[in-house]
Symmetry: C2
Subunit: 336 residues, 2 copies
DNA sequence: CTGAAAGCGCTAACAG
DNA sequence: CTGTTAGCGCTTTCAG
């Protein structure tokens, strides 16, 4: 293994000079710097991460807790993770991946100084991990917006505003009875932050617009078709739909379009998911993009700002935007 | 921060005794051990990872390169990662997540002693990263089976055998012209290991069975329907299909069933993907499970064996199994 | 069975 | 602008 001492010797300087060339923390003459850099390159030196973290009291690693639970939208998780990793690297941080759901994993990584900071995904409205995080010396950021974040900065897509936006669009199209075809029951039952907020935005906007709104958990896969049948059977006057379940989306839209055709009804369907997923559906439907990668990169940026001693907003919500792919009346069942 | 010295003082023993209690590397009297453990618990001590890695010359971290490229099956990636992380933890290893595709990321992590070993996913048949890996002092394992692994152990699902198995089933059902509806074109173009091997197994088995076999790249999402139409139009006598593209699967099966119905033909359809994906499709179809989580856990196990000084097989392939959900004739178009 | 002490490779004062 | 050196917290000889 090649050490900083090897580099120093080869370059004919002291080891502190090598260290300062690498960190840029003090002025070095051009000549010396060049010689050191040549030596580093020649020897293929990279500093020992452990030694560095011991001496500098920072590891340049961020812990990312990404629980891979049932019912979550795997594309969204994946894109968030990509955003985090990519953005963190631009700030010189690597990512330690924690997948166990419990707070002890966070504790272990933090207490052992393995990480300089923590990023926690898939937060629930009342999440037990928040207490653990506030007890730690390292800063942290949540992806989600729990009830009591307790001073921990939160980053997420504004699902509440997305719910409102969808209802406003559907109401403007003339729909008076609308339904939210949402996440699987497990996700709603554990009060996953985003699911809760979407429901809240959806229902309050319905109340405000004076229209009827109902919420229906929906399993992923083909079982979604059955749910659609049940929902439509229970209330045949439903004409507006907000679908927030990427794995169920193809089945839900296909079934809804079929129902619309049968009744010669113009349906309003809005998908809430990453744009590429919405576009992969055969029928053109309106959609609200979930900018998953941007959520991840924003969270990573915020955490790096914190690590650099900067200030962070308590809450940072990414604004929803509607992409219209259908006419004013929505998906016209008869012509689809 | 609480250090090993704090623990030693509190327990009234020397630092080395505390260290040996933790590592179990030498005999300690029950009395002493108890006192030390109480002190550790009371103080909430966890050893500094950097200090530990500096002194012990090992970090207890495995680097996992999981490139999140376009066209990959995101469920499969996710499940492999889950398997790796979970299994590695049971051996006391954490996972550093690398997502950049290039060899330099591997180099950086390894040269800096950030990781004790490397696990590389999404390997291509002739992958430039293999050279980088063989130059490193740390052991590594590939998930995939490239042409020249150059002594690096490989773990994967046996896609070649899966291709054979599918063809044998279709041939046994009486199908004489079969098609592989495969990964997106990008994946095939970069000669991703698994895609190459599947094609090889599929075509050679067709030759052996004396039946006609063709391979068709397939985009994810609804565009898959168009591909199916083209494939069927180009060869109306096709009756057997192997589908290896989870994101396209619902569209492909729906379209194939529709074609089958129109012609009152009995089609053979076999899906190659994780079982839960195959089951989420409305029509019951035969399937060959891709045991993604097991691929990950097997690879992690193998790497940990290597790290423990054990021997590893050069290649470890997980055997395919067919799950039959249709009758001998396959999906009966007319009754579906 | 336990202690003392020599590093592991690096950073960051301190000294010039 | 550069060098010397005291730790950072732990593991592991070497001694007893």
């Amino acid at each position: 293994m090649v050490t900083i001492a090897d580099v120093a010797q080869k370059a004919g300087v002291s080891i502190s000079t090598v260290s300062y060339v690498m960190s840029g923390k003090r002025a070095i003459s051009q000549k010396t710097r060049d010689r050191v850099q040549v030596a580093i390159a020649d020897l293929g030196f990279s500093p020992h991460a452990g030694a560095r973290s011991l001496a500098s009291r920072s590891s340049n690693v961020i812990g990312l807790q990404a629980p891979l639970r049932t019912g979550v939208d795997v594309h969204v998780i994946m894109q968030i993770v990509t955003g985090v990793v990519t953005q963190a690297r631009t700030h010189g941080y690597d990512i330690l991946l924690l997948t166990s759901e419990d707070a002890s994993a966070l504790d272990r990584a933090a207490r052992g100084s393995q990480v300089d900071a923590l990023l926690v995904m898939d937060v629930e409205s009342d999440d037990p991990r928040i207490g653990a995080l506030t007890d730690l010396p390292q800063p942290s950021v949540l992806i989600g917006l729990p009830a009591g974040a307790d001073g921990i900065p939160c980053v997420d897509f504004d699902f509440e505003a997305a719910g409102k936006l969808a209802v406003e669009r559907l109401a403007a199209q003339g729909h008076r009875r609308v339904a939210l075809i949402g996440s699987p029951a497990e996700v709603l039952q554990r009060h996953t932050s985003y699911a809760d907020r979407l429901v809240r935005g959806f229902l309050s906007a319905c109340a405000e617009a004076g229209i009827s709104g109902t919420v229906h958990p929906c399993p992923s896969g083909a079982d979604a078709s059955r749910i659609v049948d049940e929902v439509v059977a229970a209330d045949p006057d439903l004409t507006g739909f907000l679908v927030h379940n990427e794995a169920a989306l193809p089945y839900v839209t296909a079934r809804l379009v079929a129902h619309g055709q049968r009744r010669a009804q113009a349906l309003g369907i809005i998908a809430l998911c990453p744009d590429n997923i919405a576009q992969a559906v055969p029928h053109p439907i309106d959609s609200i993009d979930v900018p998953a990668e941007e959520i991840g990169s924003t969270a990573a940026d915020l955490l790096c700002t914190l690590l650099a001693g900067g200030e962070a907003p308590a809450v940072r919500l990414l604004e929803p935007h509607l992409t219209v792919r259908t006419g004013a009346a929505g998906v016209t069942g008869v012509t689809a």
